[in-house]
Symmetry: D3
Subunit: 238 residues, 6 copies
C-alpha cells in the first residue's frame, strides 16, 4: 500500500464481534495512524444479557477507546439478518462512504452464529458492488475499490481449515489495551468467558509464531508481488 | 526480509522443471541481485528425448543464462526417486550448503510425475531437518534455518485447489528472457509444446492480476506481520 | 443422448457471461445442429460501462451470431439477484418452456460476482423443480426432465478445485468465431481485457489436452454407462 | 476409443480385490469382447484364512470364469508392499507387456488396508513411467501409453468423497455371474460377509442410477470431447 | 445424557424425509422410551404423485406407528422454502415448544432437493436461536438449549464426504417395522423405488459395521468426555 | 468398552511427543485404572538440544510419573524414520505385545516434522496388520484386534481441519501434573516454549467446551451405537 494513511473498515454482526475477533489488530493499526471505522449490523437485540441500549453503549465505549468512528446499520436486527442483494447493497454503501482501503469481516465457516455467516457473505459481495458504476441507489457516493479484504474469526471454531495461509498479526504490545477493549462488553461477560477464551487463543496463535500474543486474518485474494522481497516473515518455528 | 542479498535455492526433479515452473521469477530475482542456486535431483535419464548428457548440458546452459550455480544430486536417477529419510537428508545437506533464505520446490498435487511429488516431499521435510543440530551426517555444515519455503507448479494441473492463497509474481519485464530460458531445453520441446503451454498459463495468471504475464508461488506457512502495511497488493480485478 | 437434435439452454447472470464462459462450446454445438437458447437473468444494469439498452443489444447480437434464441428474465436486475425459491421457480419455468436436454450454468465457486453464485444455485435447483408435477404456477408447461446439467466457469478463478473431473471441449475450429462472439460485448471491453484473458485460458486448457484451444465444463452428476466403450478420451498428456 | 478390441488391465493387491471391487464390470467387458488381464501384487500371504496356495488357486479359478489372463507380481508379499520407485517400475513393466488401453486400480482413500493404498500409488505412477522411452530396465517392451486409468473401490469406505464425478456401470445383466466370481474366494468368506456387503453396495449404487445393480469407477483424468453428444447418460434420478 | 426420558425432535422438508432418512433410528428410540416429535416444513405440495391431503395423511399414519407427535409448519410450501431469518425463527419456536434434547435434521450436501438444504440450514441456525433470551417473538416459550444436533441423509448422495466421523445406529431389530413405516408413503412409491434404495443402503451401512442393518447420523459438534470409557464402539471391521 | 481395565498404547516419534500431545489424557486414564504403555520410535537423536541418553532419561522419568511402561523401537533413529511395510510390522508387533484396546498416535497433517507423519502412517497401518493371522514374523504373539484408534496433534498446526468431529477430554483436574509431565523434557524447553504453547492450546480447547483445560483426540473410524443414549456430551457452548 502507499504511504498515505490507511483507511480500515471493520464490519461485525453484533456489538462485540469486532473487538473479540480483531480488536488487537485494530489497536495496532490505530497506533500507526490508520483511520478506523466500525460498522455493526445489529445492536445485539437477541442476546440473553444486555438491552440493545446497553450494548450500543458498550460498543460506543470500545470505539472511543479505539479512536474509531462507529455506525449501526439497521438490517432487521440481531438474529434477523438475511443474505440478500438488498443487504449487500447496504454494506456496499458503507464501504463507499468510508472509502475503505481495507475491509475486515467475519469468516463464513458454517458452525457459528447465523448472523456471522450472513455478514461474511454481505461483505464479500459488497466489496464488489462498491466498485460498479451503474448502481443508482448507491450514487450518493462515487464508486470505490477497496485494496484488501481480510476475514477475522470471531471464535476459534470460526477459523477456516488450517491448510489455508493466514496472517498472524503481533499484538503483544497492545495486549492489555485489547483486554480493556473486550471488557467494554460487560453484559456479554456475565455468562460466557469470552475474554479468557480470546486471550488463550491469541496466546496459542502468538507462541506458534514466536511472539507473545497474535491475532489472525485470512486473505480472500491472491497477492501480487514484484519480488520475493515484498513478502513479510514466514511462520516457521515448530 | 532484511536488506542483504537474498539467497534462493530452487529444487527440481528433472533438468527443465525449474525453468518451466518458476524461471521467470528467478530472472526477476536475479536482476534485483539475489544469489540463485539450482539443485536438480536427476539428469532426466528416463526421458524419451535427450540423453542425460544432453539434458545436463541444457540445464547448465539455462543456469548460465540465469547467472545461477547448479548442482546435480544423485538420488537414483529420473523415475527412481523415493520419498525416504535418506533423501530428505541429502536435500537438507544442500540447503545447509547453500545457506538458502528462500527454498522453491514443486507442489505435491497428486496428478503429476511421481518424481515431482517425491521432490516436493523431500524439500518440505529437508527444510526442517536442515535446522536440527543433532544430525551427524550433516555436520560438515552448521545447522541452517530458511526464511521462506514456497512451492511452484510445474504444469497447470499441478496447481493446488484455487481456494488457497497464492503469490503472483509479475514477470512481464522478463518474458522474452524466460522464453529463451525455457528454450534451452530443446530436447524436451521436440514432442511436447511446453513453451506454448507455459506462456499461455503465465498470460492467464497475469491478466487475472492486471499485468501482462505472471508466475505463481504457493506459500507453505503463515505470514507474521506487525501491521497491515507490511502486505503486498491483493489481486482483486475480476 | 439419442440421435435427435439436442436442445441446449445456457443461463447467465449478465449479458456477457455465456459468451465468455462457454461461447466456443455453443458455437461447436450450433454447428452440429443443436438448438440453442440463451437465458439472461439481468441486463447488466449495474455495470460501470454500457447502458442496459446497449448491453441487451450486444447480447442480442451475439445470440444472432450463434443462431440462438434469447430471453431476458427479470429477477430484480444486475446485483439484485437473490437465491430464493421464487427465483428457482422462474428459472424452472424457462427450462420447461425450452424443453432443454442440456442445461449450462455458472459454477458456484465463492470468489466471484454474487450474481454468478446466485444464478448457479437457481439453475441447480430449477433443474429439479422443472420435473415435479405439482407446481401449480409452472403448469402452463408440462413437467420436464433435463438429461444433463453442466457448469461453466466465467473466469479462471471460478473453476472448481482441479481434483474434480472436467470435460474439455475442443473449440479450435471455432476460435475466430468465438473471439468475434466475445467482441460483441464492446462496452465491457473498454476497461477489462476479457478477450485476452479468455483466450489465454482456452489456450492453456487446450494445450494441456493436446489441442489448440479448449473450454471446460464441470459435470454435476455421475455418468451411467454400459461399457467402457461409452467413454470419451481421457486427457493424459503431461 | 477406437473400434478395436479393448485391452483392460486390472491390478489388485490381494487375490480377491479385483473381483470384489470391479468384478461385475469386467464380466460386462469380457462379454463385449474386451481382452482382460489381472495382475495381483501378492498371494494374500498374510490373511488369517487360506494359505497362499489356496488363495492363488481361488484367484486362478476366478480368472478362468472371467476368461482373463492372470499374473502374480512378487513385490515382497501381502502386507509387505512398499510405495517405491522400484515397484512403480515393476507395475510399469506389466502395463507395457499387456499393452493395456484401460488400467483399473484401487483408490487411495486412506482408511483401508495399506497394500490397497500402495497399489493405488504404484499404478498411478506406473501409468506414466510406461510411456517414457529412456527407462533401460523396461526396454524388453517398447514404451506404451494407456488410454484410460480408472480407480475402483474395494470397500464402501474406499470410495472417494461423493462430490467427485464417478462412472456407474450397469452390471444387472451380470449379477449372478458376479456373485459366482466373488464366491471363488471361499477362504475369505469364512469370517467376513464380503459378498453380502458388495451386493448391498451394488444394489444401492444401481438403484440410485435407475438400474438393478451397478459398480462404480473413479476417473483420474479429465475427458476431452468434440461435442456434448459424446457423453454418456447423467445419473439424475433422486 | 441424563437418565430421564430423552426428547427427540426430527425435522423434515417433506412428509417422507424423516422415515426414509432416520425412521429406523426413531423406532429404536421410541422403544427405549424416548419422546419423539416430527416437524414437517411442507405437505409435499409439489410432488408429482399424491395430493397434499394424501401426503399429510400418510405422514400422520407413520407418526402414529412411531407413537410420535407431528406438526406441520407453513413456510410457504414444498419447493418454496427459503433460507431466511424468519424461517430460522419459526423452527426455533418449535424447538422451544418441544423442549428437544436431540435435534435431527437433513444434511446440507449440495446435490439434493433444494428444500432439504434449506431445512438443514434452518435447523442448524434455529438450534442457536432457541437459546437466546432476547428474541421477543419467541417469548411464549422460555429459551431452550438442545443437548445434541445430528444430521441424517435423505438419500445416499446426501451423505457428507466419508472422511467425516459418523454414527452408525444398529436398526436390525427394527427392520421390518421400518419398512412398514416407509410404506406408509404409498403415493411416493408409485414411481420411485425408495424402499429398495433405503434398505440396500442400510444393509451396506450395517454390514460394514458388523450388524444386519444400520442407519447413520452425522454429528455437528465435538464431543466432550471425561474418560475414553465414555465412548461407544468404533467400527473397525474391514 | 467393557468394564475391564482398559489397555492404552500411545506411540510417539520422539521422546516428548506423547506428553505434549496427549499427556493430560493419559494422566486422567491412569487415574481411572487404565494400563498405559508408551512406545517411542526414536531417542530424539537429531535434536539440537539434549543427547539421546538425556532424552531417553527424560522420557523414562515422564513414564514413571504416568505409571506407564515404556519401550523404544529402533527404526533408524530420529529424522530417519521411513513409512515402510517393515516398519508397519514393527509397530504391529508392539500392538500385539501390549494387547492394546486403545491406540493413540500422531495425526498425519502434512505441515509438521516428517517423523510425526511417518509414525502416524505406521500406526494406522499397524493397527490392521496386528489382526491378520498369516504374518509369520509376528507370530511370537497371537493376532490382536484393537478396539479404538485415535490421533493426537503434537502441535496446534497438526490438528486436522476443524470440520472433523473431535473428542475433547477434560484435563482440568490433571493440569498441574500435566505441566510437571511436560517439564520432564527439560532439554527441549531450553529454546522453545513448548509448555506455554501447549497450555495455551489446552486452555483454548477447554474454554470452548466449558471446562478449564482440555486436550483433543481425533477418531479414525465411525462409531456404532444402539441408542442415542450411548453418546457423550456435545460441545455446543459458543
Amino acid at each position: 500500500m502507499n504511504n498515505e494513511q490507511c483507511r480500515i473498515l471493520a464490519v461485525g454482526a453484533h456489538p462485540d464481534d469486532i473487538e473479540f475477533g480483531c480488536g488487537g489488530i485494530l489497536l495496532a493499526e490505530a497506533e500507526r495512524g490508520s483511520v478506523i471505522s466500525l460498522c455493526l449490523c445489529s445492536r445485539g437485540e437477541a442476546g440473553t444479557n444486555g438491552s440493545p441500549e446497553e450494548r450500543e453503549a458498550e460498543a460506543r465505549k470500545a470505539a472511543k477507546l479505539l479512536g474509531a468512528a462507529i455506525e449501526f446499520l439497521d438490517l432487521g436486527g440481531d438474529c434477523r439478518l438475511d443474505s440478500s442483494a438488498a443487504n449487500n447493497l447496504a454494506v456496499a454503501r458503507t464501504i463507499r462512504k468510508e472509502r475503505a482501503d481495507v475491509l475486515l469481516s467475519p469468516t463464513a465457516v458454517r458452525n457459528q452464529h447465523p448472523d456471522h455467516i450472513v455478514v461474511s457473505q454481505l461483505c464479500r459481495h459488497a466489496a464488489r458492488l462498491a466498485r460498479y458504476g451503474g448502481l443508482g441507489e448507491l450514487n450518493e457516493q462515487s464508486a470505490h475499490t477497496i485494496k484488501h479484504h481480510f476475514e477475522y474469526a470471531i471464535t476459534p471454531e470460526a477459523e477456516p481449515p488450517n491448510d489455508r495461509v493466514s496472517l498472524r498479526i503481533d499484538i503483544g504490545a497492545k495486549f492489555e489495551r485489547w483486554v480493556e477493549l473486550m471488557e467494554c462488553h460487560q453484559t456479554q461477560l456475565r455468562t460466557r468467558r469470552y475474554v479468557d477464551l480470546q486471550t488463550a487463543r491469541a496466546r496459542s496463535l502468538g507462541l506458534e509464531a514466536g511472539v507473545e500474543y497474535a491475532q489472525v486474518l485470512f486473505p480472500t485474494a491472491d497477492f501480487l508481488i514484484a519480488n520475493l522481497d515484498d513478502l513479510p516473515l514466514s511462520v516457521r518455528l515448530f
